[in-house]
């Protein structure tokens, strides 16, 4: 599903964000990515969604080398992903329904399909009753569920989340990860960056620790083993 082979990323400023990074994630896995601030976790996410290109190395997603992907093809690659961020990134003047439908409208999905998919996904994340609300009238947890609905609405095979619970209460964080785990059970591969070790401990998922741009441990959940 995902394979990073000897990937290094040096930003224009000279920062070495990833150093010879290697990782393999199989289809249907749920992976937590942890590590200290500045370790390179967000860089890993940016490379994975082709927002940045690596300085060297190869990245495969669904068997496709996304480093060599032509600019013109990038949007079509992104349609196979769902992405969620810490700051939700909802459009403030659109209601919940339109925020979710937006992802479909801008990718040429026919109206009939939009009218079917959006209520279904809002039901899935437990927001069926809030379709007409504006984001500012929702709690942080609800806003993140809207963002999650938007990420899921095009039925991605891979869901990427960069600190999705960073801005919400611990109780609600748990609910979000619980929801992600349910989605994972239906076959979606999930990569989630987080700082919250309590959360990681509560769920029995694979945990990858990044430090100074390298994978320093890879804990498979049950017993686990360490790299290097």
């Amino acid at each position: 599903m995902i394979e990073f082979v000897n990937v290094s990323k040096v930003y224009k400023t000279g920062t070495h964000a990833l150093n010879n990074f290697n990782l393999r994630v199989d289809r249907g896995e749920f992976v937590f990515v942890v590590g200290p601030s500045g370790a390179g976790k967000s860089t890993f996410i940016k490379l994975l969604m082709r927002e940045e290109k690596p300085t060297s190395g190869a990245i495969y997603v669904n068997g496709q080398d996304i480093v060599k992907l032509k600019r013109r093809k990038v949007p079509y690659f992104r349609r196979t992903l769902g992405v969620v961020f810490q700051d939700f990134r909802l459009i403030p003047n659109m209601n919940v329904y339109d925020n979710v439908a937006f992802a479909l409208r801008v990718t040429n999905v026919p109206g009939r399909e939009i009218r079917n998919r959006v209520p279904y996904i809002l039901g899935l994340v437990g927001l069926a009753g809030k379709a007409r609300s504006l984001p500012e009238h929702l709690s942080g947890g609800e806003q993140q569920r809207v963002a999650l609905a938007r990420a899921l609405v095009n039925n991605p095979s891979l869901l990427i989340a960069d600190e999705p619970t960073g801005n919400i209460d611990p109780d609600l964080s748990f609910e979000i990860v619980d929801l992600l785990s349910e989605i994972n059970k239906c076959g979606t591969t999930i990569v989630m960056v987080t700082h919250e070790h309590d959360l990681v401990r509560e769920f029995n998922h694979r945990v990858i620790t990044i430090d100074e741009g390298m994978v320093v441990s890879d804990d498979r959940g049950n017993g686990g083993y360490y790299l290097e």
């Binding site: 949007p75 079509y76 992104r78 349609r79 992405v83 937006f102 801008v106 990718t107 026919p110 938007r150």
Partner: protein, 302 residues
């Protein structure tokens, strides 16, 4: 691209204009002002051309030579004339040719010249030629007079020179005005688009990571530029029509004969309306679309 999303893009473009209405208003205002100035200078120079058109037909120069210039010497003078850039096809008439010409122009009274052939011929050898650019009349006449053997040069009234210089100045100013205003319009459009991009940076960012194509992200800006240009063209065209007709009416009510004559040769707006409308719409839409496309790629790193 599907029909449904085409409608969506048009709506988005129109929405941009509304959401960003202060800036849209400013850019439409500027575009209208630019087009009005351009339109007025076009109408002015068209009218000047119309009115002074006949003046330019009067572009013949006649150079009288010294009486004893021989045909061989005339060839040399002709060479010198041809070296003056503003002179067109000089034609030489020697004393006999001038006399013959005069006689034939007299018709029945030709016998008055009887006995003037040979030594008695009072006419000087002559060059006839045309002036290419009347606005350079004085200096051209001076150059011809300076040639050895030329005694006197007769040309059109110097009013012709003034009128054609004026016409030249008007059309040159017109060009400069058009150039400057085109640049101003582009800057304004660029700023409007910049602000729209800024206002919508969140949406644009989301569009990028949910997989909207570059074209899809850009099209609303294209529509915005197109509509701004088109709306401005329509307004400018209407105002110009009303304004021009008003001026014509004022002129037609003036009792002065001279002004009445001028009025008779002035252009009526409806004769040039279609042409002007095409220019305005084409220019407005062109500037709008060009501005939005060029600057959207500058501000929108897609």
């Amino acid at each position: 691209m599907k029909i449904g999303s085409f409608g969506y893009l048009i709506r988005e473009g129109a929405k941009n204009i509304y959401v960003n209405r202060l800036m849209s208003f400013a850019s439409i205002g500027t575009l209208v002002a630019c087009m009005l100035l351009i339109g007025s200078s076009i109408l002015l120079s068209m009218n000047v051309n119309q009115i002074v058109g006949y003046v330019e037909q009067q572009n013949e120069l006649t150079a009288f030579l010294e009486d004893d210039v021989t045909d061989e010497e005339a060839v040399e003078i002709e060479e010198q004339l041809r070296e003056i850039e503003n002179i067109l096809d000089p034609v030489y008439l020697n004393k006999e040719a001038v006399l013959k010409e005069q006689m034939s122009s007299m018709g029945d009274a030709a016998d008055l010249f009887e006995g003037l052939e040979g030594e008695e011929n009072p006419f000087p050898p002559t060059f006839r030629m045309h002036v290419r650019d009347l606005s350079l009349l004085t200096s051209t006449i001076m150059k011809v007079s300076d040639i050895d053997g030329v005694v006197k040069v007769i040309g059109p009234d110097s009013v012709a020179e003034i009128v054609t210089s004026l016409k030249k100045a008007i059309s040159q100013c017109g060009m400069i005005i058009v150039g400057v205003l085109l640049a101003v319009s582009l800057v304004i459009i660029a700023n409007t688009i910049k602000i729209t991009v800024f206002n919508r940076r969140k949406e644009i960012n989301i569009m990028k990571y949910v997989g909207a194509t570059d074209i899809f992200i850009r099209l609303p800006f294209f529509v915005e530029g197109f509509l701004l240009g088109l709306i401005s063209a329509m307004i400018a065209f209407g105002l110009l029509w009303v304004g021009y007709d008003y001026i014509l009416r004022m002129i037609s009510q003036n009792p002065s004969d001279w002004i009445q004559q001028t009025y008779a040769s002035m252009i009526q707006f409806k004769d040039v309306a279609v042409e002007l409308l095409c220019w305005f719409a084409g220019g407005g839409v062109g500037v709008g679309v060009f501005g939005s496309m060029v600057f959207v790629s500058k501000y929108l790193k897609v």
